[in-house]
């Protein structure tokens, strides 16, 4: 079984969208049109409205995306390498601009506010939308100083208050009991899984509403991976979580909703159990079943 699209690899996201629209019926073998999930406005954490993004003068990397991401759920983004998953994720906290100048069309709302409005304070946005990367990246500081790094930048100076933040966030990520006796040790002395949980604690310390994870467990051993997955499942009670993952079983295990991207477009967006039991498009099925990648 192939992906059966037979399209040139060099299509831009816009060109792909146009080509895919011609083959939708064949791709679904005549099923009814799939509608992306929608939510009551108070349950929407992030909303893309006809959102397109291109790097510099290049064609669009993301094209005309319209979808809502629900609050206090885990949404997984899956898709082959180069499909735009990380660009999608980084659009939410405007990290793409750290890579290259970008051109935007449409709107991207976080908690109802367009993050690309001229009046948006990007630093404040990144406080509101924390990010965890593939490889744990603690700062070359002590465990304690890693956690308080963000709060201090935001002006918290009281030692008691900072202690409280350290204890609370390390407890939230299940690290407190493991490190409470050695908070002044260097963060590099922690294991990979512990370092990743420390990075999550560092993100939580500035009290974000949303956590983004770009393959947050892919560099970890299985046990640490399960710890991070368990942690996300607990954290979703307080935070909206969006993760990019190449691990289909991880997406199936922990996410409530799943977005399948291909060539800068969202092909399918549904409840995860529905997508994994009965994918709407052949393209989705062939990807999640490992028929191409």
């Amino acid at each position: 079984m192939s992906n059966q699209l037979n399209l040139p690899k060099s299509l831009s996201a816009k060109e792909f969208a146009e080509e895919f629209s011609k083959m939708r019926k064949e791709q679904t073998r005549g099923l009814e049109e799939l509608k992306f999930p929608t939510f009551p406005s108070q349950d929407v954490a992030i909303e893309f409205k006809n959102f397109s993004l291109s790097y510099g003068e290049a064609p669009e990397s993301l094209y005309n995306l319209s979808l809502q991401i629900p609050r206090n759920k885990i949404t997984a983004i899956i898709g082959p390498s180069g499909c735009g998953k990380s660009t999608f994720l980084r659009s939410i906290n405007r990290m793409n601009e750290e890579i290259s100048p970008v051109k935007i069309a449409g709107e991207l709302l976080v908690e109802g506010k367009n993050v690309y409005s001229p009046d948006v304070d990007v630093l404040q946005l990144r406080t509101q939308v924390g990010m965890i990367f593939q490889k744990p990246q603690p700062f070359p500081l002590s465990i304690y100083n890693n956690v308080i790094f963000g709060p201090k930048i935001h002006g918290i100076k009281s030692k008691a208050q900072l202690d409280e933040i350290v204890q609370k966030t390390l407890k939230d990520v299940g690290l407190w009991e493991e490190v409470e006796q050695r908070l002044n040790d260097h963060a590099y002395g922690l294991s990979g899984g512990q370092q990743q949980r420390l990075c999550i604690a560092r993100a939580l310390a500035v009290n974000p509403a949303i956590l983004l994870g770009d393959e947050p467990a892919s560099a970890l051993d299985p046990q640490s991976t399960y710890q991070i997955e368990d942690l996300f499942l607990k954290l979703k009670e307080k935070y909206t979580i969006v993760i990019v993952t190449h691990n289909m079983q991880q997406a199936a295990r922990i996410s409530d909703y799943c977005i399948f991207m291909y060539s800068g477009n969202i092909i399918e967006y549904r409840k995860t159990d529905e997508m994994f039991e009965n994918p709407h498009f052949r393209l989705t099925e062939n990807y999640i079943s490992g028929r191409y990648g």
Partner: protein, 238 residues
């Protein structure tokens, strides 16, 4: 974008599918033997040649059970090693239920056989009409099995025409089996009351009728599973 065949998974799925189709063939063969048996008894008005045919059916039944055990192991291996999703997942999880239904069809056909053999020779001449009804019921189950095979071997998301035809005809065939079961049960009771059929014979016949009705139900279950595999939707045809 590289196309990856996942040879292992495809081979394991094909192996499971071939095993399921082999089970279906054995089940069909047992229904065929039961049908031949009834035809011979009504057309030639002879008593049942008791041992040979029953042994054949029993051998098939045992083969089906052992095949089912092996197929369950294969399905477990696919789940644990290959983490299938989508159509593959539906195919594998449905196999467990289908193995059970194949085993039940086979066992119910065997039970019907055994109960008919228990009817004393002296009562057989009174049962021509009954045997015709049994033949119709088995014939319907065989036709249902054909619908199952067509669907099971069809492409994923079969045409709406094939779906409609399968569902409509399956409902009709199953309803007819249910109606035959009710009418036939009443006839047996009437034979006992009015035409001197031994109560013991009546009991054996009612048991056989019940088993044949169950055969139809289990084949309908198989069709429902095939519909689920191919469409992802759970249909009820009973």
């Amino acid at each position: 974008m590289a196309n990856i065949s996942r040879t292992n998974l495809v081979e394991m799925l094909n192996d499971l599918k071939n095993g399921m189709l082999k089970m279906e063939l054995l089940v069909e063969e047992n229904l065929e033997k039961l049908l031949d048996f009834l035809k011979a008894s009504t057309e030639e008005k002879m008593s049942f040649p008791k041992s040979e045919r029953l042994n054949d059916v029993k051998t098939n039944d045992l083969t089906i059970r052992s095949l089912g055990d092996g197929l369950e192991n294969k399905a477990v291996k696919i789940l644990s090693l290959q983490a299938p999703v989508g159509h593959d997942l539906r195919f594998v999880i449905s196999s467990f239920r289908m193995i059970y239904d194949f085993e039940r069809v086979s066992r119910d056909a065997y039970n019907a056989f055994v109960k008919m053999l228990d009817v004393p020779d002296s009562d057989i001449s009174k049962l021509n009409d009954q045997y015709k009804v049994f033949e119709t019921s088995i014939d319907n189950s065989k036709r249902l099995l054909k619908h199952f095979v067509n669907l099971y071997q069809s492409e994923e998301n079969p045409s709406s025409d094939l779906l409609k035809k399968t569902i409509d005809e399956s409902i009709l065939l199953d309803n007819e089996i249910d109606d035959l079961f009710k009418a036939s049960s009443e006839q047996v009771l009437s034979l006992v009351h009015n035409q001197g059929l031994e109560i013991e014979s009546g009991y054996y016949l009612l048991s056989a009728i019940r088993s044949l009705e169950r055969v139809g139900d289990h084949v309908c279950n198989l069709i429902e599973r095939a519909l689920y595999i191919q469409t992802g939707t759970k249909y009820e045809i009973k």
